[in-house]
Amino acid sequence: MIELQHVYKSFQNADILNDISVHFEEKKTNMIIGQSGSGKTVLLKCIVGLLDVDRGQVIYDDVVFNRLSFRKKKDIRKNIGMVFQGGALFDSETVEQNVRFPLDMFTKMTDGEKLHRVNECLERVNIINANKLYPAEISGGMQKRVAIARAIALNPKYLFFDEPISGLDPITAIRIDRLIGEITKDIKTTTIINTHDMNSVMEIGDKVIFLYKGEKWWEGSSQEILHSDNSELNDFVFATNLAKKVRDLRKSGESS
């Protein structure tokens, strides 16, 4: 269970997060949405401890994570997998070495067991015959999938994604979204995704948190989001012409 209680964060007197309290749904896909600059990435980094919060509590399973020492945080972090916006693969290491890294660092598996687990994770994300390639030799979509394979190598309890489909074409983006949804169900992780893509929200989102100017403006399910009367949320959700037309058609259908 991950919970935030009255979280505040500012940088040089600019308030970035203002009194954020959220209870993320366990073993479900939680989406944090909002415009660029709304504080999504800062919130995600506060949750995983890459940034310290100014005030408030970040709670993992009844443990106040942000008050733990670096050494004690490590124990919780071993249950965390994170996929960064750019993949953050170690570019001096091959695909296989990237996925193997957490196994080398934190397990006592034999070399054979590690290789088996690496191949299992790579197959799970549909990467085949790329073990010996370097990140620079594979496409952006493949890099994201390798990053996912690395994140799930230790079967984490919590999975975090920062803009997982940014920079990808729509077909690859849908594949990545579905993959995230499947992994969340298969290995029963609590998944938190930071995105501004409404397709992702509708495709795999269970719970949605909408941030607006550093505040939690709205929260609900991905179905409720379409019927909300929150104007800022509607401006965000129906920002594209396509979405507006779908909404108008839906409204005209409901009235007739």
Binding site: L50, F70, G81, F84
Partner: protein
């Protein structure tokens, strides 16, 4: 307090905080050992070529320079060998080689860590529960502190060989006189002195460059700026430390 002083103390404070994390006990010793071997190859063995080329030519040039500046019947020609030996032993092979390496491996370390920082690879290590400072920086420090003295010894021998070659080829000193000169009035403590300096310079190059790289932010421009700063700052600190160590160890 004026801003430059405030900045200076902020950097010094952050540097020591970073060093505290760097020297924390390793998570998995085998991984650190492998990483250290990789760094020895990367920072040390890959620098042997440039050190050899520079040392052989500097040795030859010192021989010729000393010869032309001491053209007098009062000076025995074996003093050329002695001058080459002492210049290489006392200053060139430790200090000048360290300055050259601060350019080569210092910029390399700063840009490597800086790129890892801006592409979130360091964040990825932290999320996994790895002490990124220790995992990335400690092997570089260990590799440089242990390998720089070896490079220094290599530089001394190659420089002496270069001096002999340069002297004999140009005819400014006979082979016999040169070899007699490099053995004349030899003080073994100078070797200890130069090895101590080399190890300390190795520590300075790696830690200062790693600090600049580890705390890089922004994009490619900032990484480039931090690499330049790493080279300039480590060079200045090497020169100051050289002065202090010479005063401490030779007087």
């Amino acid at each position: 307090m004026t801003k430059p002083f405030k900045d200076l103390f902020t950097h010094i404070g952050r540097f020591f905080v970073l060093m505290g994390r760097v020297f924390a006990p390793p998570e998995k010793k085998r991984m650190y050992y492998q990483q250290t071997l990789r760094e020895i190859e990367f920072l040390g063995i890959n620098s042997m070529g440039i050190i050899a080329v520079i040392s052989i030519f500097i040795g030859a040039v010192i021989t010729i320079q000393t010869s032309y500046n001491t053209e007098s019947p009062l000076y025995p020609s074996y003093l050329i060998g002695l001058a080459v030996r002492d210049i290489l032993l006392l200053e060139f092979s430790s200090t000048i080689i360290a300055l050259i390496l601060s350019g080569k491996i210092g910029s390399n370390i700063a840009s490597e860590l800086g790129t890892m920082r801006v592409t979130e690879q360091i964040d990825a290590l932290e999320i996994m529960g790895v002490n990124s400072a220790s995992y990335l920086i400690m092997p570089k420090i260990v590799a440089a502190v242990f390998f720089l003295p070896f490079l220094t010894i290599m530089s001394i021998f190659i420089g002496l060989a270069g001096g002999w070659l340069g002297g004999v080829v140009t005819g400014v000193v006979s082979s016999h006189d040169y070899i007699y000169g490099i053995q004349f009035a030899f003080i073994p403590y100078y070797v200890t002195y130069t090895l101590i300096k080399a190890a300390i310079f190795g520590f300075i190059i790696t830690t200062v460059s790693a600090y600049r790289g580890y705390y890089a932010y922004g994009g490619a421009l900032q990484v480039g700026k931090n690499s330049t700063r790493a080279v300039v700052e480590s060079s200045i600190i090497i020169l100051i430390t050289n002065y202090v160590l010479t005063q401490l160890l030779l007087t």
